[in-house]
């Protein structure tokens, strides 16, 4: 059985490697580029990358079927449960000042920030135990399907540890190199992480205030619209479903355009509101929603319709329960 699983995973890896033509660059070439473009010391960097380990467990984890293979109603149960809702209420209470300030500064409501941190790491409890340098070396040089992406993340990681004066061998993260309480990839760290408590450091690993500010800034920079809806249930003409599902996964149509295609949305949003059509498998049938700009912004954190819906619904449950306990 074990053998069989390994075989399938290799077969998948093999299969996937044909899908994308990624430029496989050797570690040596990468080092030369870092020396040339960012003035790294060649022998220092070679030594550093030689200390990093290629982990088979990381390649294995990457080739595991993604969460989206599960139907929505099963995916949902992983995230929307009492432990995560109550943990969110506690996290909110413990960080109420930072969350208020994040709302005032970036316009992102506390429940959304809390839900992201809840889904990503259960409020900082599961931040990942891989060395970031191991994860990124493994995936940059031994995972052809996304080598370009991870080589770029490795470059960002080396730059950010230099900029932030961090030991590149010491930072921990997920098997994909996502770091800290909000699981920022290195490129996201450099673009969106903020020092939200003003101590001179952007510490998203152990500082809740910086993590909260960074998540809020990320949402703000991707265009979060304060006070606007995220997603609403909708009716739809049965014959229009196929057409609506073939549209891009982006709010690039107006509500009016979707209505002309057969959407029967009954809400009061203006006809020119940018919208997208979403279907999810519930236990009692396929149900439909209209996602707005804010729904799309959540997918910028993780490009999955299930992920974004889980964050939204967890946020709603946390807000509801937080209000009860005040």
């Amino acid at each position: 059985m074990k053998h069989y699983q390994v075989y399938i995973q290799f077969a998948l890896l093999f299969f996937c490697s044909f899908n994308v033509t990624a430029e496989v660059v050797s570690q040596e070439t990468f080092i030369d580029r870092m020396v040339e473009e960012h003035a790294f010391d060649k022998s220092d960097l070679t030594q550093l990358l030689n200390k990093a380990k290629v982990k088979k467990s990381i390649l294995k984890a990457m080739s595991r079927p993604a969460g989206k293979a599960k139907p929505w109603y099963e995916y949902r149960l992983i995230f929307i449960k009492d432990k995560r809702i109550n943990g969110g209420v506690n996290f909110w209470k413990e960080n109420v000042k930072a969350l208020k300030r994040a709302k005032a500064t970036y316009g992102v409501p506390p429940e959304i920030i809390v839900a992201i941190i809840g889904v990503e790491t259960l409020y900082g409890k599961n931040k990942g135990n891989f060395r970031v340098i191991d994860a990124l070396k493994t995936l940059a040089f031994h995972y052809p399907r996304r080598a370009d992406f991870f080589r770029s993340e490795l470059e960002h990681y080396l730059l950010l540890t230099r900029e932030e004066k961090l030991n590149p061998l010491a930072q921990k993260g997920s098997y994909a190199g996502a770091m800290g309480i909000g699981q920022f990839m290195p490129s996201s760290f450099r673009r969106y992480a903020v020092d939200f408590d003003g101590d001179g450091k952007r510490n998203i690993w152990t500082n809740n205030v910086d993590a909260i500010g960074s998540v809020a800034n990320y949402f703000h920079r991707f265009g979060w619209e304060t006070g606007q809806p995220v997603i609403k249930a909708t009716q739809v003409e049965t014959k229009a479903v196929e057409k609506l599902l073939s549209l891009a996964f982006e709010p690039q149509y107006t509500l009016q355009q979707l209505k002309q295609m057969g959407l029967r949305y009954q809400g009061d949003e203006a006809d020119n509101t940018p919208s997208m059509f979403i279907d999810l498998e519930t236990k009692i049938g396929t149900a439909y929603w209209v996602g707005f700009k804010n729904y799309y912004v959540i997918t910028r954190y993780n490009h999955s319709k299930h992920y974004a819906m889980a964050v939204f619904q967890l946020a709603e449950e946390i807000a509801n329960r937080y209000e009860q306990t005040r």
């Binding site: 077969a11 293979a69 249930a233 009692i284 149900a287 439909y288 929603w289 449950e317 509801n320 009860q324």
Partner: protein
């Protein structure tokens, strides 16, 4: 390579995705319950009902549903308080087909929302609904109108599931103002 295997996997998942359970409105299929001898509305003087002094006591019932026009002018943040309301009875819940339809409050019904319909409680009032048998409770926002004997309240699909009513539809609930 095991391409056929891959395709059969896809076929299976497609099949699974197409298996849509047809679903009648749950309220239609629920057997009617005999009326209990217990009073449906417990008078506010009962000892276990604590009414905080600083709160205004609402006069019930407030029968007329607000139009969605007038609701838009009031902030949805402002929750109605109905702290002195307690009642027991059975609950029904929305059928699958209601997902995406407009409620009396103007809000859109979502099967995963924590909402309910009630005959008289003010719209946007929050109430705690408890399964008396199991002790499980949820807080729902009244956002719709409904008056269907013998049911006390009509819950969203997910609120009903959280209370375990999908398994045991006849278990009595207590509705208590917040």
């Amino acid at each position: 390579m095991n391409k056929p295997g891959k395709f059969s996997l896809i076929a299976v998942s497609l099949l699974a995705a197409c298996t849509v359970v047809s679903h009648d409105n749950a309220t239609d299929t629920l057997p009617l319950l005999e009326k209990t001898s217990a009073p449906l509305v417990v008078p506010p003087s009962q000892p276990e009902i604590v009414v905080p002094v600083e709160e205004e006591i609402e006069v019930l019932p407030v029968a007329l549903p607000l139009s969605s026009e007038s609701l838009k002018k009031t902030s949805l943040e402002k929750k109605e308080r109905v702290a002195n309301y307690v009642a027991q009875g059975t609950a029904s819940w929305y059928g699958f087909a209601a997902h995406g339809t407009k409620t009396a409050s103007g809000q859109i019904y979502d099967l995963y929302g924590m909402t309910a319909a009630h005959a008289s409680l003010p719209l946007l009032a929050q109430v705690k609904v408890k399964n008396i048998r199991t002790g499980k409770s949820v807080v729902v926002t009244i956002n719709d109108r409904f008056d269907e004997e013998p049911f006390l309240i009509k819950l969203s699909y997910w609120a009903a599931r959280r209370l375990g009513l999908d398994e045991n539809p006849l278990q009595a609930v207590e509705v208590r103002g917040q």
